[in-house]
Structure formats: C-alpha cells, structure tokens
C-alpha cells in the first residue's frame, strides 16, 4: 500500500470535517475521492499533503509515518483547483522550481523541465508567464511542476473544477493517459461523478466526513452500498417503493405478468435521449429511453404503458 490512512478525525470548530477515516490507497493507482462539497474530501487530501493536520489518527506514506511531517518533507506533489501558478515566474521557472530548491545541476534541470513540458504539450510556451496561458494550459503546467520533483504521490484537488466543460473533458482523458505513462500513485478530489467514473481505478465516496463506500467504478455503479452512493453516482428514480436507475425500467405496450400500469405525464427530449415522466398508482417514476425506443413504443402524453424492472437492474429499498 502506498498511502495508509488510519482513524483520521478533524474538526473545524464545531464542524466535523472528517470522522474516523480509514483508507488504503494502492501503489500506482488512480483513486478518486468523490462526494458533495463540504463532505470532507478536500480536507482529507490536504491532510495527506501535510497542508492540514488531523486532530486524531495517523498517515503513512510508503510505510513511513507522515502525520506530523511538514509538506516539504513528504514526497508529495500537490495540484490546486486554481492552479497556484507562480505568477512572477515563466512557465519554465515554474516547472523548474522544485529542482532549483533541490539545487540540482543546471543541465539536469534543463533536460528534465523540457522533457516534462513536452509531456504536458507546453514545450512552445516555456518563456511565457502564467498570465499568458489559458486555464487548461496553466493546470497542465501545474501538473508538470508537481511531477518535476518525482513525488511518490500526486494529489490533485478538484484539478479541473475551474475549467469549462469542453476543456475539462479533454484534460480528463489526458490525465488518464498521463497516469498510465508516469504511473505515480495519484489521488484526485472531485464532486463530478462522471469524472470519477471515467478516469479512476478506484472511487472512495465521502459524505459528511465519513467514507460511504470504496470500490471500482463498476462495483460502485452496479452495487451501491446505500441510497446515497446510488444517488450520487447516477440518476435514480422510484418504482413501487424501490430505488432504481431510470434506464433499468423497461417500457411495454401491453400488460404482461409482473408489470405495472403507468400513465405518461410528460415527454422530454434531451439531445439523443428521451425522458418519460410517468405516474403509477404508488409512485411517479421517470424513464430514460433512446429516441428509437420512444418512437417504436409510440409514446404520447396521457397514453398508458406498462413498466417492468430489468432483470439485471440494481434496486434498493426506498427509505
């Protein structure tokens, strides 16, 4: 295990940020800390980085106790949501910073920095100031800067949170590829379930200062431990007293055994998908269909259809 977190608790005044967190992060993996804002995930990341200290509990990085170690003494790279670029230094000097601090020879610094700038596709921007870069470029620079000192662990705090949707998607794919290339143990914090599902090997769902569930993206999506995890990882609706994903409800033209009659209250087209809002005797579910499915079923408002749970579907008892 690369990082072992045991029994970590942290309060800010009366607010409980983290409550007895236990977590093991495998070496070389890409782990997402996923959860709503204020849930404690950033605090946990900052404690691992040494930018914050816990009230109770212990952190070990690569087997060494690190709980009270100053950040500069841990082998940890940190990437901030708002880049934290050194505004007065060029892109080159930003990336070289950690190496200059370590007093490496000039030639070594030069080759290492150029190699990293190439890795993050900024080789032509070495002499620019951070203010002359776009948000996505600044974040790539910040990543190169963190990687320059060859940290054992790379920590990213909502790294794409300040970028617009298009750039965010691009950087997400790029981060995954970069990780496969560099293979450094990486933890990133996000509140975007799509980001977590798409990029990470393992997801840790954190809410109200506690870990709700840990597992691979597929495990979490298909076998959520509770209604919070189920709701946070994807859309959820209710059918006959159970929670179910709207794409796991089958819609039929005719009644068969085990189906529930429903009236269509509203049809909504969102891009390639059709959302049908329905009313049964006991619940008001909505169903996610493709456009083709909706056309085949000849759905129309106020029409009657029959609903059935897909036999492979995950359902949870609604509380």
């Amino acid at each position: 295990m690369s990082i072992v977190v045991s029994g970590i608790s942290k309060n800010f005044g009366d607010f409980v940020a983290l409550d007895d967190i236990n977590l093991e992060v495998p070496r070389g993996g890409l782990t997402a800390l996923l959860g709503p804002s204020g849930g404690g995930k950033s605090t946990l990341l900052r404690i691992i980085a040494g930018l914050e200290f816990p009230d109770r509990g212990e952190i070990r990085i690569e087997g060494k106790p690190a709980t009270w170690l100053a950040p500069q003494k841990r082998s940890v790279g940190f990437v901030f949501q708002h880049y934290a670029a050194f505004k007065h230094l060029s892109v080159y000097r930003n990336v070289a910073f950690g190496l200059e601090i370590r007093k490496r020879p000039k030639a070594e610094i030069r080759s290492r920095v150029m190699e990293l700038l190439e890795l993050v596709h900024l080789e032509n921007f070495a002499d620019r100031l951070p203010s002359q870069l776009s948000g996505g470029q600044r974040q790539r620079m910040a990543l190169a800067r963190a990687l320059a000192v060859q940290p054992e662990v790379l920590l990213l705090d909502e790294p794409f949170g300040a970028l617009d949707a298009q750039v965010r998607k691009e950087l997400r794919d790029w981060l995954r590829k970069l990780h496969d290339e560099v293979n450094v143990t990486t933890i990133f914090v996000t509140h975007d379930q799509e980001e977590a599902l798409e990029v990470s090997d393992e997801i840790v769902v954190i809410n109200n200062g506690r870990i709700e569930q840990t597992g691979s993206p597929t495990e979490l999506y298909d076998h959520p431990a509770n209604d919070f995890v189920m709701g946070f990882l994807g859309p959820v609706t209710r059918l006959d007293g159970r929670l179910i994903r709207p794409h796991d409800i089958e819609v039929l033209r005719e009644a068969t055994p085990g189906t529930t009659a429903a009236t269509i209250t509203r049809l909504l087209r969102v891009g390639f998908e059709v959302r049908a809002e329905l009313r049964t005797e006991t619940s008001e579910p909505w169903v996610q269909l493709t456009r083709g499915q909706a056309e085949d079923l000849e759905l129309a408002p106020d029409g009657t259809v029959w609903l059935r749970t897909n036999h492979k579907a995950t359902t949870l008892a609604a509380t």
């Binding site: 040494g50 100053a70 950040p71 841990r74 670029a85 050194f86 007065h88 910073f97 617009d164």
Partner: protein, 302 residues
Amino acid sequence: MTETNVSDAEVDRPRVPAPTITKPPRAARRLRRGSPVARWTLRLIAVGYVLGLVALPVGTVVQRTFAGGLHPVLESLQNPDLLAAARLGLIVSVISVLINTVFGVGAAVLLVRYRFPGRGLLNAVIDLPVSISPVVVGIALILVYGENGWFGPTLTKLNIQIIFATPAIVMATVIVALPLVVREVIPVLEEVGTEQDQAAQSLGANAVQRFLRITLPTIKWALAYGVVLSLARSLGEFGAVRVVSGSVPGVSETPTLFVNDNYQQFGPKAEQAAFTMAFALMLISVLFIVVIALLRPKEQNQ
C-alpha cells in the same frame, strides 16, 4: 438596460476578450458631461482651488529662494548647520525606513496569514499613528523615555541618552511612518492568498526559500511604494521630532526643524538658508511623486 444586456452577452461568449471600456450610448454620454457652462465652471473652480491652495504658496517659496539669484543659494549651502541638518535627516530617514520595512513586511505577513490572540489589537494599534497628532507622539515618548519618564532613571543610570538625541528622533519618525508599509503590503498579500506558498511548500521549499522566492517578488511593487511613502513621510516629519529632539543646531536639528528655526530668526542669511532647505525638501518631494507615479502602473499590472 440595453447596456447590461450587451455586456452580458459578451461575458457569456467564451474566449473573446471583453472590451475593457464599453462606450455608453451618445445620449447618455451627453447627459453625463452636462452643459458646457457647468463643465467650464467646475473646471475653473477646481483649477482655481488647487492654484490658490497649493501652487501659489509653493511657487512663492521657489520665488523667495531664488530672489537674489543663484549665488545666495549656493552660499547658504556652505552653512555647516544646514549640512548637519541634511545629514541627520538622511540618517534618521534611512534608519526609520529600514526599521519600518522589516517590521511592515513582518506585520503584514503575520496579520494576513495567521490567526492568533491579539491579532485585532495589533491591527488597530498599527493604524494609531495616523489618527494621533505627531505632537502627542512626541510627548508620549518623553513620558516614557524622558528624565522623569518610566524608563528615565534606569536610562540615566546606564548613561543612555534617548530623548534630545538621535534615538528619540528615530523613534518618533518610525512611529509616525509605521502604518505606511504595512497598509501597502497587506492588500497584495490578501489578494494572492496562500496557495502559491503552499505549492512552493509541497515542492520542498522551506520558510526562508518561500519568502525570498515567492512572497518577496509578489509584494515587491507594493513594498517599493510603501518604502517611498515612508521615506517621504520620514523626511517631512516635524511635530513629533520637534518635541523630542531639542532642536540643537548642528546636533539634533532635522531639515524641517532647520527650516522652522532659521525662518524665525532675524537676518537675511538665516532666511535664505531656510528657503534653500525648504526648496531642497520640495525638490525631493517632487522626485518622490515621480517615483511613485512610475511605480503605480507596474503595481496594477501585477
């Protein structure tokens, strides 16, 4: 309404740099400027006010300085008391600015980045010299360090002279210029936040390296501005120094005291010396204004 809509649309469109100044519609422009009569009246009042209040008296000093041509001015520059006053003024200002720079940067970092008991008090006390009359500062110094003051007997026993000597002049000057550096540096530190510092820390930089490589370059223009302001304030200080210095010509007379004392003496020589020194002080002030004007835009670019 129309104006707001236009700028909103521009904000929503990504990557198109929004024009910094949107021209208001013609009708609005005319309305804002007012009628030509009102415009000219306002200009006349403003210019007349500044001329009467500032330019006229300042001009008179220049005129009086050079009333007898250049020769008397050069001659008064030979006056040993004038040279001594200039030297003392320079020494006191430089020491005070050094002290206030070190204290100012330290206090600013402390106030912005740390939460500690007494923080509010420190914040308030730093501003005190601006609201207290310098004369009161001078008297307070005498009450503490004077012969009959708190530390008076101890200082006398140790044979240390503070009041009526250079240490008191420096102390008085430091106090009156105390908030200038702090108040320039604090907003910049607040604006940049602590993330760059934390990033440097995670890259292995210790406190000294972080200060020299990150904090100092970040605040350098604000700091330079604060230093120039402090220097100007230190050179121009009169009230507090008047009380604590004793104003002995050639010994504890600063440039401002020299101007005052010589102007009040009778005789053309003394008066000429006073005007020469006053002119020199003014010249330095103009220099400072130029330096500040040069520093300002750079500070805003940061």
